[in-house]
């Protein structure tokens, strides 16, 4: 079975504030060394997908830099490999991607050229680990036209932020996008699996008539097509839902069962290498319930925190309940609590950054 992977990574998110002022949400750093897109990309590669297109639009530079030639995911290939699909100018004019369907439609060549039979569409913003081969089997054994991944959401998710589906058996009979009063607690996870030629047909039919969103197209076809819902029970989160959600996702990395699920089953999560030495913990350090990445040097107190690569916490500094991104330095005697510090932030000696009711956020290269 040959499958083409498509990752939607172009969306903008106002909820993330300064964290996305210089990067796409798919390039958001998570769990100390990864970026959000690593999860979907690794899931695809682990399922044997050898050709992946990444559709970018909003602030793509850091995402491009991260993906490079696709080498870390074994996608630097002669056949297939990684395709970065940005909006472009052509003789017919230039168009930004107007929606998910439109974005894929504008890259129809990739769909037309390959020998793949199926297409798996995911998003660069999702943090989850899945064995996609089970989805493929489900799709075929149910004789589905389209399979959508869905999940029963608990109270930690804000259902009004998701597409809520109503199911009858495996079949999806209704989808309501971001409803005020959700009918069920089953939400669509933004992951589609279908026959490639069938997708092409849908796109030619509807995008040319002005419909730009893939889910809207599918919604209008629910009574005509067999759209099935694959119920995913694992950990699944979307980094794009806001600073609090982003913070919560990182903190989830401190839970053993979350780490076990994300990193130690159904293959590995791959990411760009940085060639830094292992973290070093000095004689004056206290480190509790925290994640430390390569290149860190810790001499202060670190508790309930995620330290990314190359973070330096100097003697007497206190870091609690915080997410500290790459190469940030927290100098002697400084205090950081309930905060997200972007990359290369400098917290000067004895300064304090304490998030009270909300998470304090410092943008990239900020100096406090």
């Amino acid at each position: 079975m040959r499958i083409l992977g498509l990752i939607l990574a172009g969306g903008q998110s106002k909820a993330l504030g300064s964290l996305v002022s210089k990067r796409a949400s798919a390039a958001l750093p998570v769990f100390g060394k990864y970026r959000a897109i690593d999860f979907t990309l690794s899931n695809m590669v682990n399922a044997g997908i050898r050709k992946v297109g990444v559709l970018t639009q909003y602030n793509p530079r850091s995402l491009m830099d991260h993906l490079g030639s696709g080498k870390e995911w074994d996608l630097d290939r002669k056949n297939g490999g990684l395709f970065l699909l940005q909006p472009y100018v052509s003789q017919e004019g230039y168009y930004w991607y107007k929606g998910t369907a439109d974005a894929i439609f504008q890259n129809m060549t990739l769909l037309r050229r390959g020998e793949e039979d199926y297409v798996l569409i995911g998003s660069g913003d999702h943090i989850y680990k899945i064995d996609f081969s089970q989805v493929f089997e489900f799709h075929i054994s149910n004789g589905a036209d389209i399979t959508l991944l869905v999940k029963e959401m608990d109270e930690t998710y804000d259902l009004s932020q998701y597409g809520i589906v109503e199911m009858s058996g495996n079949r999806i009979i209704d989808i309501e996008e971001k409803p005020e009063k959700p009918k069920t607690n089953v939400a669509f996870l933004g992951i589609y699996f279908m026959n490639k030629y069938f997708l092409m047909e849908l796109l030619y039919n509807y995008v040319t008539k002005g419909e730009t969103d893939l889910l809207t197209i599918i919604q209008s076809q629910l009574d005509r097509l067999k759209v099935c819902g694959y119920l995913f029970n694992g950990y699944w989160r979307n980094v794009k839902k806001g600073i609090n959600e982003y913070f919560r996702i990182n903190m989830d990395g401190l839970k053993k069962e979350v780490r076990g699920e994300l990193f130690y089953r159904y293959g590995k999560i791959y990411t760009k290498l940085k060639d830094l030495p292992p973290p070093k913990i000095g004689g004056t350090a206290i480190v509790r319930n925290s994640i430390l990445s390569d290149g860190c040097i810790v001499n202060g107190n670190v508790e309930n925190s995620i330290l990314f690569r190359g973070v330096n916490v100097k003697a007497g500094a206190v870091v609690e309940n915080s997410v500290v991104m790459q190469d940030t330095v927290i100098e002697e005697g400084a205090v950081v609590r309930n905060a997200v510090l972007d990359k290369e932030v400098l917290i000067r000696q004895e300064s304090r950054l304490v998030g009270k009711d909300t998470i304090a956020v410092l943008e990239k290269r900020a100096v406090l």
Partner: protein, 420 residues
């Protein structure tokens, strides 16, 4: 642009590392949390802009070959040049490598194919950071035929090294291999640069000499000096270690945990590259207590770690304390263990309540030449059953199983090996 080719001698056994090199070549021995010894030399090469590298292997090369592969982590996967593994081969005059000089001699054709101006002869089992350009610049400036990198060592240790006696212009006028009465404290680091034509001439001479042991330090360089050729000593002032013994291996690892380590792994302008498994970052639990240590990716630490180097994917359970030890990749130390002054190799399991390092050191009953100090060594893939107490200077071999332990107490100097 000068044309430099580096040859890394990586065929040695490293016998004095005991069980650590029983199954792997010394250059492949893990070091510093995520590296293997050869990474330092390979990284020095590419950081010095040398992208033509031959690695001469012979002793148990599988892990080493697998590690180097096509040289990707070092950017040595290139269309032109790049890395070549030079194993002994059949055909014509070839044979097993009989010595360091003979190993290069057997690869003359390989070197000739690059037609280099200079050939660097390096060793795959030293830990150091050196810009070879400084050495080559010195070599050119002196108009030398060959230049040997040297370091001043304490005079009382000079009898362990090849010692250079130089004149005021740094020209080597005499050479003594491990002298009882050293006349100088300038020790050879086993890092040489030669003009290729000159070296080739001496390799051919050495090969036709029936009495030669075909070793650079032993035969070829003394002959060059005897012949009054232009051989110079380049004085290196940085950090350099030959981790040839278990004691020096243990010490050099633990040196990295000091507040200001002599070898700076964190220098962004001189990075050390390696091939590693993709692992999530290290997790330190609420119950963990870690000081003066290196904790690598994939670790899960619930216990206490002090003055230790912990490699990737190591699990240290609750109420366990690990002190002054080196614990390699994938090892699992369960609850209530007390480990001190140990080197534990890859993928070892220590069940609950194991103690290592109890009591006073005693001479080894396995091998007095190799296990000379107080450090207990555990070989890879071994399992130590729950409740076992092990003394100092003990050896647990490779692949030892629970059934190999006759008693739950191994006194200092004792050993347990796997019974076939």
């Amino acid at each position: 642009m000068r044309n430099v080719l580096a040859l890394i001698l990586a065929g040695g056994h490293g016998k004095r590392l005991g069980v650590l090199t029983e199954k792997i070549a010394k250059p492949a021995v893990p070091f510093g949390g995520k590296y293997r010894l050869i990474d330092f030399t390979l990284s020095n090469c590419v950081n010095s802009g040398i992208y033509q590298v031959g690695v001469l292997t012979q002793y148990r090369p599988h892990i080493l070959n697998n590690h180097i592969n096509i040289g990707r982590p070092w950017d040595l996967d290139r269309k032109k040049g790049g890395i070549t593994i030079l194993s002994p081969y059949l055909g014509g005059v070839s044979d097993w490598y009989k010595g360091t000089a003979n190993a290069v001699y057997q690869n003359i054709e390989y070197v000739d194919s690059f037609n280099p101006d200079f050939v660097l002869i390096l060793s795959g089992d030293h830990v150091y950071a050196m810009d070879y350009n400084d050495l080559i610049d010195f070599h050119i400036l002196k108009g030398a035929d060959g230049t040997i990198a040297c370091m001043e060592v304490p005079i009382e240790e000079a009898n362990r090294f090849g010692i250079m006696i130089t004149n005021i212009e740094h020209r080597i006028i005499d050479f003594e291999e491990k002298p009882a009465q050293p006349r100088s404290n300038l020790a050879s680091l086993g890092i040489y640069v030669f003009n290729w034509k000159f070296l080739k001439e001496y390799l051919l001479k050495d090969e036709s000499d029936q009495s030669s042991t075909h070793d650079f330090g032993h035969d070829v360089i003394p002959r060059m000096i005897q012949d009054n050729r232009q051989i110079y000593a380049y004085k290196f002032n940085g950090y350099w270690r030959d981790v040839g013994t278990i004691k020096s291996y243990w010490e050099s690892n633990l040196e990295l945990t000091r507040p200001i380590p002599p070898l700076n792994l964190y220098d962004r302008h001189w990075r050390f590259y390696t091939q590693t498994e993709e692992m999530p970052p290290a997790y330190c639990a609420p119950s963990s207590k870690i000081i003066n240590s290196i904790i690598s990716e994939g670790c899960e630490i619930y216990g206490t770690v002090e003055n230790s180097v912990i490699f990737q994917e190591v699990y240290i359970g609750e109420d366990t304390a690990v002190k002054n030890s080196v614990v390699m990749t994938g090892t699992c130390i369960e609850r209530d263990c007390l480990i001190s002054d140990a080197v534990i190799a890859e993928r070892v399991t220590l069940q609950d309540r194991v103690t290592i390092g109890r009591g006073e050191a005693a001479p080894s009953r396995l091998d007095k030449e190799i296990y000379t100090d107080h450090i207990t060594v555990v070989g890879m893939y071994s399992t130590i059953p729950a409740g076992t107490v092990i003394g100092k200077n003990c050896v647990v071999g490779i692949g030892v199983r629970e059934s190999d332990f006759d008693s739950s107490f191994i006194e200092s100097g004792g050993y347990v090996l796997h019974r076939e």
